[in-house]
Subunit: 393 residues, 2 copies
């Protein structure tokens, strides 16, 4: 009688959520300071002071009817112009306010983009390992998720696997760099080769293939450049969120940028507007729109994440763990020392180490460690990571 | 290549939006004070001071990592508990935090509810006249919108028409009281008869029929009771929004309340959680969640709307207009003095009166007047309304 698919999605908690609940149980039993929970991707550093200051200033000085009123569905024009100017200034592509659509965060950016472009029977490619909700979002948009695994040596794109995954039904490929769960940043070489392959396939099939860039971690990169894909490939939609860059994940604010290099980009933008409307978004939260306008090129102090990354990566590799090169985001993806990553995660629980097995990311034999935690937690956990790997020696 | 339906929705501006744009043009030409724009349903009274104060207090005193962090997908537990307690206290039904799902406003409440319960081939009934986006939301959920017209004498439900509209495929009926666009509040008699008819039909077909109450205007009622439908009918989902009651339409905050009287209500709630997830909502904006917790039984000063209602209704009926009895919301629904309401609206433009013809609400021969405007605008417009009707005498 209900929608069975939605019921299943509501009843089946994600693996990450299960681990988090287990963590809550252990925290109650032995004290939070003795549980080393690396399961959640919730930013651990506060929003910059300037963000709260901007919000308080808006609340104190702006006419509340305007501040809290509906903006246009695509977002307040001055907010969109500020973001478009920032994109132009940072990445050199001529962005325009009329190609920016404000959203309730990255998930909304993705569902709106997918619903705008997909029809029943379309295929959307995800590069494994990938954020598990991609499957949920793609299927709800009526399309089929097709998986192409990244190469294990460096978790860059495996172009053989990707080429095999592309068919005449391919509508889009989702690219997430810096990546959840690996922390890998796709190199300029990778993006150039991706653009070249997709251009070849577009020509071969005489149809358009979109790249959907899922970019919530763009600002979280440690000493490497993150190539801006619209500069490499025309048919690109950028799905951005301020959740991680400004530590505002609960506030739900982000945007979609439709590349001006798409043929008839205004039609794609119109479809984005239509999808936002049909999914019930109305407009992105108005106070947050005006806040990100005032904080457009600001980021949280990500030096803590870099410190955590260095501490974990350097020590864990020294202990004997193998990990993908973690240049961004706040995840470390380590190879399970036994074939079954679930068994390894169970064993880690003995040391109160809560890790996420990689199966739910569409890739077996690894675990994800989220290092958006206190540096102290990492320092205290290191001896246990060491004991854990020594069990396998 | 795009999703044609989404493209159409994005390209076809609503009638209301067209009128608003025409108003902008006229405002630029002759000055805003000379244009009597009654087209938009945007609250004209500010949010209560206490709302901004609560927000500033939260921003000043709460740990930003907690304040701006993800809440659970269904909303922060303490927020849901406060709302559930308020429902119990105000309406006497035993609400529970685990049956409240926080949303990004009324549109999200509706799309999430519809996607949770509908399957392909289901029918959802709207009572005309109705908010035009119902069609968009119902069709995007894979269901078919079936229209049952209200009776013209008082715009209460026409039970003959409704009974004809119910089939074995009926999954739900959307009830919006106080109503947009009529301002009518469905009486206790109406709701009792509705419950009785639906119970009969449930028994006849051996299946469940939901009422989806769309209640953004609940608090905007002028001296009449608005029956709380879960007290009359078991299979009810309440879709609430704080947009109008707290004048926060741009902030996108509301909730779904799944009645505890639904058999297996936890399953319905799970499907709601699943639909919210699949549509990309993640959680409702966290600052706004905590704000409505602190302002749970507060409303904006709606005395201005009542004053506007009295001024317009009393004068317009005295001039010879016929109107539905406007007991709530901020709309007056007047009969067009000529059969073609569009022609009447064109004629009204001569007097710079911007009114919305009723066709897009699924009901012909009427116009909607939104009186969420300044009282001064109404006072200045009255002589023109008088001149306008006199053209027909």
């Amino acid at each position: 009688m209900l929608n069975e698919k939605m019921l299943q999605l509501g009843e089946n908690r994600s693996v990450i959520r299960e681990i988090f609940e287990y963590g809550n149980k252990r925290r109650a039993e032995i004290g939070a300071e003795n549980v080393f929970d690396f399961s959640l991707g919730n930013p651990s550093i506060p929003a910059p002071h300037k963000v709260n200051e901007a919000m308080i200033k808006l609340l104190s000085e702006t006419d509340p009817v305007k501040l809290h009123g509906y903006t246009s569905a695509q977002g307040a024009p001055d907010v969109r112009k500020t973001i478009a100017d920032s994109i132009t200034h940072r990445f050199g592509i001529g962005a325009d306010a009329n190609l920016i659509y404000m959203t309730c965060g990255a998930a909304a950016s993705l569902t709106i983009s997918l619903n705008a472009i997909c029809n029943q029977g379309d295929e959307v490619i995800a590069l494994a390992p990938f954020f598990p909700e991609y499957r949920v979002f793609v299927e709800k948009a009526g399309a089929k998720l097709v998986v192409a695994k990244c190469r294990e040596s460096d978790f860059q794109i495996d172009f053989g696997a990707l080429e095999n995954a592309i068919t005449p039904n391919t509508k889009a490929i989702i690219v997430n760099s810096p990546n959840n769960p690996t922390g890998v940043v796709f190199s300029k070489d990778t993006i150039e080769e991706l653009a070249s392959l997709l251009n070849k396939k577009q020509q071969e099939y005489g149809k358009r293939i979109f790249i959907i860039c899922d970019e919530p971690y763009r600002e979280l990169a440690y000493g490497v450049d993150v190539p801006y894909i619209p500069n490499f490939y025309d048919n690109t939609l950028v799905c951005y969120s301020y959740s991680k860059s400004l530590s505002l994940p609960g506030e739900r604010i982000g945007y979609i940028f439709v590349s001006p290099n798409i043929d008839n980009c205004n039609k794609v933008y119109a479809a984005v507007c239509g999808a936002g409307r049909a999914l019930g978004f109305v407009c992105a939260p108005s106070l947050l729109q005006f806040t990100v306008k005032d904080c457009v090129e600001l980021t949280s102090d990500i030096s803590v994440y870099k410190k955590n990354r260095d501490l974990l990566y350097n020590n864990l590799t020294e202990y004997g763990y193998t990990a993908a090169k973690p240049d961004g985001a706040f995840y470390l993806f380590i190879k399970s020392p036994e074939a079954d990553a679930n068994a390894f995660c169970e064993r880690a629980k003995k040391y109160e180490l809560l890790l996420v097995p990689s199966d739910s990311f569409g890739y077996e034999g690894y675990v994800r460690i989220s290092y958006c935690v206190s540096t102290e937690q990492i320092e205290k956990s290191l001896p246990y990571f060491k004991e854990l790997i020594e069990e396998y020696k």
